[in-house]
């Protein structure tokens, strides 16, 4: 185990470690462009030069492996001069158009220039003109003038994705990134290119010009796109919602070695738009004749409670069907189970609509099951109590089930509109609770707006039975509420009281009652999640 000194601090690392990794252990950041912890080092940018004692020339920290008794200086004058020179070199042909560059504010070139360089350009000649606004594919735009040719993108596509669409063309100061003829960017991981690029050369079309990065807030969350449960950061801002109808501006991957490393697939990355979609349900509404009337929560609860009670009194609990969605958090699902199954003794609860897990996986991050919390729903016992979800719909069509309560689920997506129309139009009461409008809402007698994953706290259990936490990044849109709160309110109106003030209280009960969750709390789940100890594996 070599022990070395970096800037007068001693550190012991595994053999084979590079200086930049060892410095990271000491919380010393060595500036770099081409180095990426998950890609091979190539020494292209020369930014990470550090001085190693007894070696006359500066060494690249990203590729020099540590030796025992090595003494490294990352911050002395020699190193600083070198960085300055490297930056001056890199900026020779840079167009300096930070005001219109999407990367401004999170650009490493900008940061390091202000930190180390602040030079006046000595370059008198004409700047090299290159291609600007080059369409690399449906999601990415390239600006060659801003490119510093660190080749991170090229290497990402080669090493991680393996599709190798990008390459460096031409020579010298004419060098440019480009796609091979006839091989456009079509893979499912292009979004990562914009993240990987240290400067503003590659920008995401989805985020391009939508917001300056410094206006954004970040919150840890989990991608709701599939059962992988990739760790993400939600970048959000409410400042111009009225003008742009946008509050969530992007999702970026968050490091988690166990789940997604540093990557995020495009399906998940661009799947957040439903959060600010115009079809969001923003106020509880009740059907009056053919019209929907917006009401306040109390009125909505009273009406739903009254009609549910009416059906209970006239028929039996078996005339009521609940179809929750595996898109909901553990807390929401637990609340569904606790209230409808354990308190009201309804057994027609099931989330497995036919075809619920038949998306298309790609074998890397994207799973076939496009629901973030299928495992959680299974563990909480929301399946297999009574008939399957498909049977519940069928029973509704036959008139055996008089009332249907949909919690976030979209049966029309799997079963087709015709079937849903024939079933739901027969029911005496259809309550739709969810965040966005869908076909089933057409038949709902009451619509209760639920919050989306960025607007509530909770946990998802991914396919590897890993419990991961989502945090609230935004206020719920309009009057919408987290689903557990809606059920809590409905229960209270019907005369059942549950002592929950926050999602955390519900999770405590889950930990107490559900096998696998025992002993957990939000603190233990933390930012990176925790794997459940399941007997079956």
């Amino acid at each position: 185990m070599p022990t070395l000194v970096i800037d007068d601090q001693k550190v012991t690392v595994d053999p084979g470690t590079t200086i930049i990794q060892a410095a990271k252990k000491l919380d010393i950041t060595i500036p770099h462009y081409c180095y990426h912890p998950r890609l091979k080092s190539v020494d292209m940018c020369r930014m990470c030069l550090v001085e190693v004692k007894d070696i006359p020339k500066l060494q690249t920290a990203c590729s020099t492996q540590v030796r025992d008794n090595m003494v490294v200086f990352t911050n002395n004058q020699k190193v600083l001069d070198a960085r300055r020179s490297v930056l001056e070199f890199l900026l020779i042909n840079h167009p300096l158009d930070c005001p219109i560059c999407d990367k401004a504010g999170e650009c490493m070139l900008q940061d390091f220039y202000f930190q180390f360089s602040r030079h006046t350009s000595k370059f008198k000649e004409k700047k090299q003109k290159k291609h600007k606004v080059v369409n690399l594919g449906p999601k990415i735009v390239l600006d060659s003038e801003r490119c510093i040719l660190c080749a991170r993108c090229v290497r990402f596509l080669k090493e991680v994705v393996g599709t190798e669409e990008l390459g460096i063309f031409d020579r010298g100061d004419h060098s440019e990134i480009g796609i091979y003829p006839g091989r456009p960017l079509e893979n499912n991981y292009q979004g990562n290119l914009a993240d990987v690029c240290p400067v503003g050369a590659l920008t995401a079309k989805d985020f391009r010009f939508a917001c300056r990065s410094w206006f954004l807030c970040q919150e840890n969350s989990i991608c709701p796109g599939c059962s992988t449960g990739c760790n993400v950061l939600v970048h959000s801002s409410e400042r111009s919602y009225d003008k742009t109808l946008r509050r969530v501006y992007r999702l970026t991957p968050r490091d988690n070695d166990e789940v997604n490393q540093s990557w995020l697939c495009d399906v998940g990355r661009y799947g957040y738009h439903f959060v600010d979609d115009p079809d969001r349900l923003t106020a509880p509404s009740l059907k009056r004749g053919e019209e929907y009337v917006k009401v306040d929560w109390d009125t909505a609860f009273r009406e739903v409670a009254q009609r549910l009670r009416g059906i209970f009194e006239r028929y039996s609990p078996s005339s009521l069907g609940i179809i929750p969605s595996p898109q909901l958090t553990n807390e929401d699902l637990y609340m569904v189970k606790k209230f409808f199954n354990e308190t009201l003794c309804i057994t027609n609860i099931d989330f497995k609509l036919p075809g619920w897990n038949q998306g298309q996986g790609d074998g890397f991050l994207l799973k076939a099951d496009r629901n973030p919390n299928t495992m959680g729903a299974e563990l909480l016992g929301l399946s297999g109590i009574g008939p399957q979800a498909g049977e519940i719909i069928e029973k509704t069509r036959l008139g055996e089930i008089k009332a249907l309560y949909l919690v976030g689920s979209d049966p029309a997506r799997y079963l087709g509109e015709e079937k849903i129309a024939s079933a739901l139009s027969r029911a005496q009461l259809v309550v739709f609770q969810g965040s966005n409008y869908n076909y089933a809402c057409k038949f709902a007698h009451a619509i209760l707006p639920g919050a989306t994953f960025v607007e509530k706290e909770g946990t998802f259990t991914n396919a590897q039975a890993r419990v991961q936490k989502i945090n609230q990044a935004l206020r719920p849109l309009g009057e919408s509420l987290p689903d557990w709160k809606i059920i809590l309110g409905l229960a209270l109106t019907m005369g059942y009281y549950f002592p929950y003030k926050a999602a955390e209280d519900i999770f405590k009960d889950i930990a107490r009652e559900v096998t696998g969750f025992s002993g957990l709390d939000y603190k233990k789940v933390g930012d990176k999640g925790i794997k459940l100890a399941l007997s079956g594996g």
Partner: protein, 191 residues
Amino acid sequence: MKIVGHKLSFLENIYLFEIVRGLVITTRHFFYNMFFHIAHLLGYQQDVEAAVTIQYPEQTIPVSKRWRGVHRINTRPDGSPRCVACMLCETVCPVQCIHIVAEEHPDPAIEKYPVSFEVDVTRCCWCGMCEEACPVDAIYMDSGKIPKAGYSRQDLVYDKETLTKEVPLPGYQRSLNPPGAGAPKVNPMGL
């Protein structure tokens, strides 16, 4: 707290003479001003002012060259705003009165432009920081205008078209590139 009092003399104490003194002062002003008002009406003594009032919309005080009035957006030769929607003014604005929505410009040389550029003058505190922040010589407050009153709040939110139409007060222009001028003299970004 120290109260510095002034002992009233007997004459002051019985009010009467002090009241008369006050009345004499105001009466003097009244007749002095009245005399000149009438003289002005008859066309005499025009050079003597009888009132310090300035009849605002018709008459204005000449403002200082540094005075900050209603914002204006500088234009390119083709009349489009010079603004590249970098949102630095929006960022620096201490009262958040500027709202910009950016979009991709069809011309890749310009690349980014504001679809909507709104200044809410009801919120503006006239600090002029937007002027200083602007990297492309686009926003200036040298129109020398005081915002007009409006019947609704929306009337006082100036949009891109309004702001582009504003011109600098003659002789007061602070921007180095006049609106709609040819080749810009100052071109920090090559735009």
